[in-house]
Symmetry: C2
């Protein structure tokens, strides 16, 4: 029997190979909305990469791609991963880095003939971005939180989530077979770009995430009166866009004046949207994020009151539909410590921070000790074609991921088994 190499220092990431892998995935369609042909094509490529690494691959019932590398012992697997779907006009690193780095960790172990104690599992989660059907579909299903009603939700084309899941090789009728019970996973790690400018501003190449912000999604419908723009005097108008403008300002002020950390109106549509017709209807979305659930709820109530006041003042009707509330999730203290130990072992500066973005890791955090590693986003830019993370930061993040996997695998007194 071949002697096993167990000294983690001898295993390390090949920065050039990592960059090739990032480029290979990122160049598969600039926009890869989940369940579209571009997403399907990129998933096939990643599955092929897994096979080339000798992993045992599977597509679970919700469409998550899973690659397994056996361990020496009969233990729960240590899992890591991210996603490859994008928002509209998104960037090249969001999600892709975590998948590429996870594959490179496994490639490094293979190159070093290193066999871990735990089985290792890389997961590429389906529909993280939720441009249709709501975010985190794949990871949500994995913890049993995707409901039969969710499967009936439709996208802009009228397609249900159940139908979309079939397109990526899932089986919506057997959706429960994707569920992992608490204890079935020894730990979950996700490397991701920060998507903000905190690490850049403090000059740290690695972020140790303390917890993931909760998110509230609300849809608002404003109903005014469409009318001729030349003949309807200002005082007799019920202009839905003028009311919407006041509400957009209120959303801003709510976040700036100590409400939840960030608040955004990202989508807004005007009807009938003609140069010479007073807007009769506006539909818009409000998104609130904070690591404190109560702040989210307070801000949501405050904005509902603002809407009522604007409605009374303008005569424009307001309807609020609360679509979703994702709870904030703290990261595991043990996993955070393992990440910190890896950084200190490598002599790398790190900074502790909350995650403003939602991540699949927050779902995994409900069934397993979970941690996240951030690397800097140049200028804090993300969800944009200008999204960029320096090559050395990608490599450093992947190396911290690898060393943390190995530390957790050695179980350094944390009782993950």
């Amino acid at each position: 029997m071949k002697p096993l190499r167990q000294v983690s220092q001898s295993v390390s990431i090949d920065s050039g190979q990592l960059q090739c892998r990032i480029d290979a995935i990122a160049s598969l369609g600039g926009t890869r909305l989940a369940y579209t042909p571009a997403d399907v094509e990129a998933r096939s490529s990643v599955l092929e990469m897994m096979r080339q690494l000798g992993l045992k691959t599977a597509v679970d019932a919700v469409g998550n791609l899973i690659g397994c590398r056996p361990g020496r012992l009969s233990l729960a697997p240590i899992a890591f991963g991210s996603h490859i779907d994008t928002v509209r006009s998104g960037g090249r690193y969001d999600g892709v880095l975590g998948v590429a780095a996870g594959l490179e960790c496994l490639a490094s172990l293979a190159a070093a003939d290193y066999v871990s104690r735990h089985p290792l599992e890389i997961i590429v989660f389906a529909n993280e971005e939720g441009q249709n059907f709501g975010a985190l579909c794949g990871s949500r299903a994995m913890i049993g939180a995707l409901s039969p009603e969710d499967l009936l939700r439709v996208d802009e084309t009228g397609r249900t989530l159940a139908e979309a899941i079939k397109v990526v090789g899932g089986n919506p009728r057997q959706i429960n077979s994707a569920i992992r019970q608490p204890g079935e996973m020894a730990a979950f790690l996700e490397l991701h770009i920060e998507q903000g400018a905190v690490l850049e501003s403090v000059g740290a190449p690695i972020g140790v995430v303390e917890g993931i912000s909760g998110i509230s999604y609300t849809e608002v419908k404003l109903s005014g009166m469409a009318n001729h723009s030349g003949t309807t005097v200002m005082d007799l108008r019920k202009d839905a866009l003028v009311a919407a403008a006041q509400f957009v300002m209120a959303v801003q002020e709510a976040a700036r004046q100590g409400g939840c950390r960030v608040a955004t109106v990202g989508r807004l549509a005007v009807h009938p949207n003609s140069v010479n017709i007073i807007p009769g209807e506006v539909l818009l979305t409000v998104e609130l994020r904070d690591v404190d659930r109560n702040k989210i709820l307070e801000t949501r109530r405050y904005l509902r009151d603002c809407g009522r006041q604007i409605s009374e003042r303008t005569g424009v009707g307001f309807e609020f539909t609360e679509r979703e509330l994702i709870d904030p999730v703290p990261c595991s203290a043990e996993v955070q410590q393992a990440i910190i130990n890896s950084c200190e072992g490598m002599g790398v500066r790190y900074h502790r921070l909350p995650s403003g973005a939602g991540h699949d890791a927050q779902m995994m955090g409900k069934i397993a000790p979970m941690g996240m590693i951030f690397v800097p986003s140049a200028g804090g830019v993300s969800h944009s074609p200008e999204e960029f993370t320096a090559r050395e930061h990608c490599a450093l993040g992947a190396e911290v991921l690898l060393q943390t996997i190995l530390r957790l695998d050695r179980d350094e007194g944390r009782g993950l088994e």
Copy 2:
């Protein structure tokens, strides 16, 4: 030779027939954007109506439909008409009333075997609403104000105005053949719904229009920075929609605080328009209307300054593109007097007012003595499926149109010959 009946009292409008004709045109497609199949179909029907009235019909080079009834003398024709194209989700009376009433005037004269001194001409103007390519295309071409550049303008589908004109039977290469020189028309009259609530509020069934508001169209592009909504702190955002909201409020305030009479942001589009991306770009339109050209220009300058200030405050770039400025047009004093005399002759209450909307009549006013007759719009609602004008008001408007045509034809000392 058959004796000619020349007493106008013996000629009058059949209110039931008028209503049938309004319904017949209005039911041809709820929305009839110019140059679409619905518009083409409705134009064919109206051309057929003209033929059934024994008119000599023609489609001029820009696509205006023209029906002629000969007169006894070799004089310039008295013309009247309106349009049958609509805005998106428009109403049943805007434009259609003037066309239906014009046809009924000619039907009444035919039924009474009344031959006028002047030739009479009904004109159905092409693309009045200007949902694509800008408003008043047909009447603009008729006064020689449609430029070669206008013909190259494209709609949302990439079709040029020249191509669109061919679809309605026009000949864009011979566009100048549509031009009428000053003096070629003895007078022009347009009956139209008020589209505002002034007549209703003063209780007058007939409006005598004093002049038509000028209109300025400006396109504004706001360029911010698309970014992740969860990770980009509020202070570092360049949210194009937040800047747009401030600008929409500024447009409101400009009109309310003594700027031009009405100011409207009717169209607004957000890019990329995703729930979890900070809006990177907003395109919007600003429309300003007043009977005083200077007020329009002052307000436009003021709003440009507002945009610059918002830009400095928010870091979002503003670009202003002034698309069009249509001058206010006064109505002919002589034609106004003929309308007033008709009302007084019929014992009908009238009210003098400006037109807030643009009309083909304002183009005709540059080459001929021009007047407009308004009838009340219920609740002031127009450019909306709820647009409504009572049957008796439609009939009264048509009767005033008919009597005014006959008064002008008799030339009662106004020197229109």
